[in-house]
Structure formats: structure tokens, C-alpha cells
Amino acid sequence: MRPRVYFIVLLLLIPLQASLFNPLSLAGIKPDLGLALLFIIGLIAGPAEGALAGIAMGLLQDIGSASVIGLTGITRGLVGLSAGLLGRRVLDFRSPSNSIFLAVFSLLEGVFIAVFMQVFYGSVPFFGLLAGRILPQAFYTGLLGFAILQLMSRRNFIAALQRRTPHKEL
């Protein structure tokens, strides 16, 4: 994808996630739009572009959410990279297995950050966080990714994007 497309996606991401996704919140849990988009970018564009997009997205989210700058940068970079590597083997973007992978990535990211917070910032309630936030959000994000991929596939949007975007390997 072109840099200006990434630029617009990144700029829209924080306000979309922070404001417009509030009505989708269930018991305070919102799906992670950024992660879902990154997963799709990785699948389409490959590991190199996925990792770069992930790092940029993560850094921006770290700055926007007053978190430790670089922490989400690392996790999103790894998610983008993994999604890109997975993209080599994905033949059907509408397959539900994609949303399972997305949910797993969301879960692993949440666990990584929770462990980091537990180690460096004291007694964050790990299991409470896992059961009350990380797992439901992973499930919800997987559903969102599935819905976006279904929509994009129906409109042949993915095929058009794949034609324009060469799958760049590491």
C-alpha cells in the first residue's frame, strides 16, 4: 500500500478507536480495531510491510494512550510480521481460521503487556486482567476482523488491494 494510505489509516485509528467504537463497548470491552487492521495489512502486504506498519501503529498508540513508548510498538511489529508470514499460506481470506489467528495474536499481545506490567510495575492482577479484559477483547477483536474480512472479500476489495500491493518478503 502507498505511504499516504498508511498515513491516513494511522491518523484515523486513534479517534476511531477512542470515540466511535464506544457504542460497541460490552462491559467496558472494545474490539481492537488497530490490531484487526494490522492483521489484514500483514496478510495482504507481507511480513516486511506488516512489521513496519505494526511498529508505526504501535508507537502511535503508545503515545496516544500515555503508555510506555515502544511497548505496543514491539508487540504490534511482531503481530504485523507474523500476520505477513501467515499471509503466504492464506488462500481464502473469508475463512474463519483467520479470525482465530487474529484472536490468538490479540491474546498473546495482551498477555505480553500484562506480564511486562506485572514485572516492572508491580502487582497488576494478571489473572483478573486475563479473564476480565484480555480474553474477551481477543474474542471480540477476532469477530471484528472476521466481519471486516467478510465485507472486504464481498466487495472484491482484497483482490484489488492484492493486485496493487506486492507481497514483500523479509
Binding site: P15, A18, S19, A66, I69, G110, V124, P125, L170
Partner: protein, 268 residues
Amino acid sequence: MTRLPAQRKKLFFFLSLFVLLFWLVTVQVRHGRFTFMEKPVLAVAGLFERVITWPFKTTVSVGKQYVFFVGAQRENRQLRDENDRLLLENAVMNEILLENERLRDALEFKRLHPPASIMTQVIGKESSPASSTITINKGSRDGISAGMAVISAEGVVGRIQTVLPGTAKIMLLIDPGSTLAVRVQRNREDGLLEGKLRHCALKYVSYYADIQEGDLLVTSGLDGVFPKGLAVGTVVKVTKHEANAFQTVVAKPAVTLSRLEEALVLTQ
């Protein structure tokens, strides 16, 4: 010198990038979070936020107005009756207030001035396993500055972290970076309340301190940010270990932060 193949160069580039990010995180763990990039990013995001949410909020507002209009006439009649009753009550209350002031003056009590405040609306909520913040629709143009206390009708919300001309970011009470001087209302035991994302924890409470589940925590005023006596939360769990000099006290915030729509910023 032999040239590295393109694939290795790319691999080296990405490895360096990740190493750099790890270094950034390590530096912040040791010396605190970097905040220098917050203002420009939040300024741009805030602008987009307003543009994106404007049509949505306008539609919701028009819909609500229509729904309310249907029952407005009946409600109007009820309100008129209530107004008459309140006018009468108000006259009695004024008398009591005047009498109270006279008595205070007589006893040379210091008059309590309610702190100056600004009513704001929550326009964004950000929550991750690493932080918990909200964005409000007022900023430095309205007299808000970093460090100010933020409350709601139920109690303490948090404090202002970053301020832009039209918006401000609040670090919530449950954010891991948040600390607050509190007091147990029942026995006046002091403590330091730290954010733990889903709840808060009272730190450095002596093993022998009498803390019980259900105890109400209020601000002690010792931090110089929050006025004394505001509700902060309720103790939900107390754990004592004989090997530890301190007890572990878990508290639930008084304010339902996930459903917060308005917040009051204390400017004094």
C-alpha cells in the same frame, strides 16, 4: 568488502528496529515515561476525533431531542408544579443559610469556599493492559493545566496528564502511573493509593492497621492536589501475610469509570 544480500540487509534493519524499541522501553522503565511526543500526536488525533464524531453525535442528539419532545408537554406541567414547591423550599433554605452564616461568623469559623471547577465532557476512552486514560473536550483555552484534579458526582476520577488548547487527557485513578494520598474514613488511617488497571491498591499499610472490607477511602488532602474528604473508593479485599510488614489492600473506585460521561476539573 563483500556486499550483504538484500534479504540479510532487511533482516538486519528489522532486528535493529526491534532492538531500538527494546532500548526505548528499558530507558522508560528506569527513568519514567517519555511525554515529549504526546502533544503533537494528540493535537492531530483530537482534530480528527472532533471531525469524525461530529456527525455521529449530532444524529444521536437530534434523535434524543425528538424522543424527549413527545413527553415534553406532560413533563412541563409536572415541572411547573415542582417549581412552585421548590420556590417555597428555596425561601426556607435561604433563611437557614443566612442563619448558618451568622452563626459561623459568630464562632469565627473559616468560611469554606467550594473549589472553582470546569464541567467537561468525555470524548474518548483509551484502555489497554498498560494504561487507562480518557480525553475531555476542554483544554488550556478553558484554564485547564496539567496536574489538576478531576472528579465527578460520585468521587475522584483522576488527574490531568496532558493539556492541549481544546482537549486534555486524564490519567484515571486505575492507571498504573496514578498515585493518590487517601485516608480510611472510619479510623483516619493514611495510605497511598496506586492504580492497578482493574482496581486500586492501598500501599504501605502497616500489618497492624485496622482496615476492613467495606471501608470507605477518601482523599486526605496531603498531596496538595485533591481537596480533603472526596470519596475515592471502597476496600474490597484485605490480605495479611505474617512474613510481610505491610498488608495488601485492594479497593474499588467510587466512580464507575467505564460509564463516565461528564467530569469536573478542579481549577483551584
